[in-house]
């Protein structure tokens, strides 16, 4: 497993400042989503598949939404595979059939925004 924390800088007192490194994953859903209502449901479904302990470590968040089908999930970088797998298992949300496709993962959100424009063009 990769190191979760990376040394960011050192102060004069030699105290280390550590920061978490994240990974951003671009997902596309098979049908349109209303994130106002369904965001919590989606995160709950992820927790159901990966468990509470892994969920708290992975700390997945919806970082951006480019359209009603395209969105980005931000997660701790060593849990990237787990989040991709969890969303593969989700085939039903709020009583309707839905599928999620992971398209690209990146260390920065900017590259995903560029990629999402390429897809929607």
């Amino acid at each position: 497993m990769r190191k979760m924390l990376t040394v960011y800088s050192t102060t004069k007192d030699d105290a280390l400042i550590l920061r978490y490194k994240y990974r951003y994953i671009l997902f596309m859903s098979s049908s349109e989503l209303d994130f106002g209502i369904e965001e919590r449901g989606l995160l709950n479904e992820i927790m159901r598949y990966i468990g509470e302990i892994s969920y708290s470590k992975a700390n997945p968040k919806i970082a951006a939404q480019y359209s009603r089908k395209l969105f980005v999930i931000k997660t701790e970088r060593s849990y990237e595979d787990l989040i991709i797998l969890a969303l593969s298992f989700i085939k039903e949300l709020h009583g309707r059939r839905i599928g999620f496709f992971s398209l690209k993962s990146s260390g920065t959100i900017k590259s995903l925004r560029v990629y999402s424009k390429k897809i929607t063009a």
């Binding site: 991709i84 797998l85 059939r97």
Partner: protein, 170 residues
């Protein structure tokens, strides 16, 4: 850990009448074959290009010797060691259906995952060529190439071999 990049990988097979070509490209496949292009059948007399689905060694063994059969699929991913060896000797592909690993019922899903893992482990040991296919019945059931790789790793295929789990025609 290997990082994913956007690139078009192998082929996928679905259980639908037609496939959205644009969607197939976006999710990272060269092509997704629909039902009318490659069929999964239990019919031993079928003469078109097909994947033979069987549950006994006798029928599977006969199918492996036919030219029109691309590969075989074992019903419920049950392990038949003799068939795996014959599959390797005839240079055919063992297809593993992923769609039954994502069913809603938990007990059934866990059973299917366990069986698929066991089958894949045995196939890797006997050096049989494996291909994971989604066999989705609708768009929601499909999986992207990235997800297929994640599934391969989850089912016990190491990172080195994970790229070779895509069905590559010819």
């Amino acid at each position: 850990m290997k990082r994913y990049e956007y690139m078009v990988r192998g082929f996928d097979i679905v259980d639908m009448d037609s496939v959205n070509i644009r969607l197939a490209e976006v999710i990272g496949y060269k092509k997704v074959y629909a039902r009318n292009e490659i069929i999964v059948t239990e019919d031993q007399a079928y003469e078109g290009k097909c994947i033979f689905l069987g549950r006994e060694h006798g029928a599977l063994g006969k199918a492996l010797r036919r030219n029109n059969v691309e590969g075989i699929m074992i019903f419920d991913n049950e392990l038949i060691r003799q068939t795996l060896e014959e599959c390797r000797d005839n240079e055919k592909i063992l297809f593993v259906d992923i769609s039954n690993l994502t069913v809603q019922e938990q007990r059934l899903r866990l059973r299917n995952i366990h069986r698929a893992r066991f089958l894949i482990r045995s196939a890797l040991r006997s050096r049989t060529k494996i291909a994971l296919v989604s066999l989705a019945k609708d768009e929601a059931g499909m999986l992207s190439a990235m997800q297929m790789l994640a599934f391969a790793k989850f089912l016990g295929i190491n990172e080195k071999d994970a790229d070779s789990i895509f069905y590559n025609k010819g």
